[in-house]
């Protein structure tokens, strides 16, 4: 049953050290505010799952929150590398990061399997590639009807899923629209789900078949305006492409990243972090 609470309380109550944590949002509605709160509360040894780690996990990895990453495409979209992720994999900085690497199709199917309470996903994939050589979890299964050999991979079953959405009503029913990614599947595959939203409204006024997560599959719901920035929230604000480009400079260098991280830690919440961005001293970190 969804409970309205602050994001700080939600992370404190429902995300523990060592948890398997999936924060989803495919370019759109990436829950950055929640990522910052996890950093601020200094969670450690997290096993992170996300199709596209994006800047949100680059930040968590650089801040030392993660010991494992399950992913399928780890780049800065339209810009280049995720340098904190690369530094962890290539140089064990700030400490070693185990990786479980899969394809988009596989992880999307694995979330569906998790949501459907099945132990594994089945897909026509990976044939001839080197993935099964480096990821022993990628196995095969023979169709009992046709004899076709298909890829079988373990379902994603996170302890916690966190997503961002546009709206929730007073009871905590959640509405999202636009590019949906695997947000719904992430919530339904997880033991606990935290949803941050742009606004709390008296009524969703959604048409039939809209993507709604009923309040009783959500654990905590938190009002965090601009909580997906620098990604975007359809109908609310655009993607901050300049930040994605600037992140290449910030993340490339450990010291500069460290300076940026201090501003996350110093802010009491995401709103204060966003206010801080206008400070010329903070601006200098991005130049």
């Amino acid at each position: 049953m969804a409970e309205w609470m602050t994001l700080a309380d939600a992370i404190a109550s429902y995300v523990s050290d060592g948890d398997t944590l999936a924060m989803e949002g495919f370019t759109h509605l990436i829950p950055f505010a929640a990522g910052h709160e996890v950093i601020r509360q200094r969670r450690r040894e997290l096993s992170l799952v996300r199709m596209t780690p994006d800047l949100i996990y680059d930040q968590l990895i650089g801040a030392g929150c993660a010991s494992k990453l399950t992913f399928s495409w780890g780049g800065n979209p339209g810009v280049g590398s995720l340098h904190r992720f690369r530094d962890a994999v290539e140089n064990d900085w700030p400490h070693p990061l185990a990786i479980e690497e899969r394809s988009h199709s596989d992880l999307a199917n694995a979330y569906v399997a998790g949501a459907a309470n099945l132990p594994f996903a089945v897909l026509r994939g990976y044939a001839g590639s080197d993935f099964p050589r480096v990821n022993p979890q990628i196995r095969s299964i023979t169709c009992p009807f046709t004899g076709e050999v298909l890829a079988a991979t373990p379902a994603v079953r996170p302890d916690v899923a966190i997503i961002h959405a546009q709206k929730a009503d007073l009871k905590g029913n959640v509405l999202l629209w636009g590019i949906l990614g695997v947000q719904k599947e992430a919530v339904l595959s997880a033991k606990r789900a935290i949803v941050t939203v742009e606004e709390r409204v008296p009524s969703l006024d959604a048409p039939p078949n809209a993507c709604i997560l009923p309040h009783w599959v959500v654990t905590a719901v938190c009002e965090v305006p601009r909580g997906a920035t620098p990604s975007y929230a359809h109908g609310y604000y655009e993607r901050d492409n300049a930040f994605y480009r600037a992140w290449d400079r910030v993340s490339r260098d450990r010291e500069r990243f460290g300076a940026w991280l201090q501003y996350v830690l110093r802010a009491k919440d995401f709103e204060e972090y966003l206010d801080l961005q206008r400070d010329p001293q903070v601006q200098a970190v991005y130049q």
């Binding site: 370019t27 759109h28 690497e101 026509r124 044939a127 001839g128 590019i179 695997v182 655009e238």
Partner: protein, 261 residues
């Protein structure tokens, strides 16, 4: 190279020409997206552009910077979830053409986008698979678009992320992969196509102003030329104008957006 267009422009134009009107195309971000949208804005107005983030029939007014930009969703015929894109549309066999990029490519069109060096201790950790392995094994035809150099066109891949023709010959079919695999590799120097029997990539078209020596010097294996090898027709005025307009609109849109935030 002629002064009237750049090597990136001829590469984009050559790739766009390969999309026929009405084709259902699975589009990756970057050069593939530029080429697919150029085709849509020139000779293929009915091409259906599908992005892995969920938009089907996207008609973006400017090029998206990321795979899930809002203008893809706003201009699409429909937007579906990511699992649906991969399950019903890609694996379902509804895609004619898939565009892929590559960090490394071998002579039989296998692709690496995972690591340079060993997997456990990589020299360079690359982004990884994304949708590519299942695109390469599910679409009817794969087009690879990539800038040519010895670093990219290598004798042996460090990792096979997405399959072209595996070891060549009929190895692809024997491995149970559907689709015809890569039918062309479009670079900034030339177009290569697989030999029908050995499946080794051979140069089939040379872009204007490029000579064979340059292509050989930019390929990590001893590259062959098809007997029927001919020159790529230069971009038409219409193609160039449309491409440059699109790029200008895109830079303006993203620039303004960036400054405003």
């Amino acid at each position: 190279m002629s002064a009237s267009f750049t090597s990136e422009e001829i590469m984009t134009v050559a790739a766009a020409r390969m999309l026929s009107d009405g084709t259902v195309c699975f589009v990756g971000i970057g050069l593939p997206s530029t080429a697919a949208n150029l085709a849509r804005l020139t000779h293929a107005p009915e091409a259906i552009l599908i992005y892995e983030s969920g938009p089907i029939g996207a008609k973006p007014p400017v090029l998206p910077l990321s795979i899930g930009d809002g203008n893809l969703a706003e201009t699409a015929d429909t937007v579906v979830s990511t699992p649906e894109i991969f399950r019903y549309w890609l694996q379902g066999g509804r895609i004619d053409v898939g565009f892929l990029g590559a960090a490394q490519l071998d002579r039989i069109a296998n692709i690496n986008t995972t690591v340079v060096g060993s997997y456990d201790k990589p020299k360079a950790r690359l982004p990884g698979a994304g949708g590519a392995p299942e695109i390469s094994s599910s679409v009817k035809e794969v087009l690879i678009i990539v800038k040519q150099s010895k670093r990219t066109f290598v004798e042996k891949l460090d990792f096979i992320t997405s399959v072209g023709f595996l070891t060549g010959g009929d190895a692809r079919e024997a491995a149970g992969l559907s689709g015809n695999g890569p039918t062309a590799v479009i670079t900034d120097l030339c177009v290569m196509r697989p030999d029908p029997l050995t499946r080794e990539l051979k140069v089939s078209n040379i872009h204007p102003g490029v000579n064979r020596e340059t292509i050989k010097a930019s390929t990590g294996w001893t590259v062959g030329f098809a007997e029927t090898c001919e020159d790529t027709p230069p971009p038409t005025a219409h193609e160039l104008e449309t491409l440059r307009d699109l790029k200008t609109r895109t830079a303006l849109a993203h620039g303004i957006q960036g400054d405003a935030e």
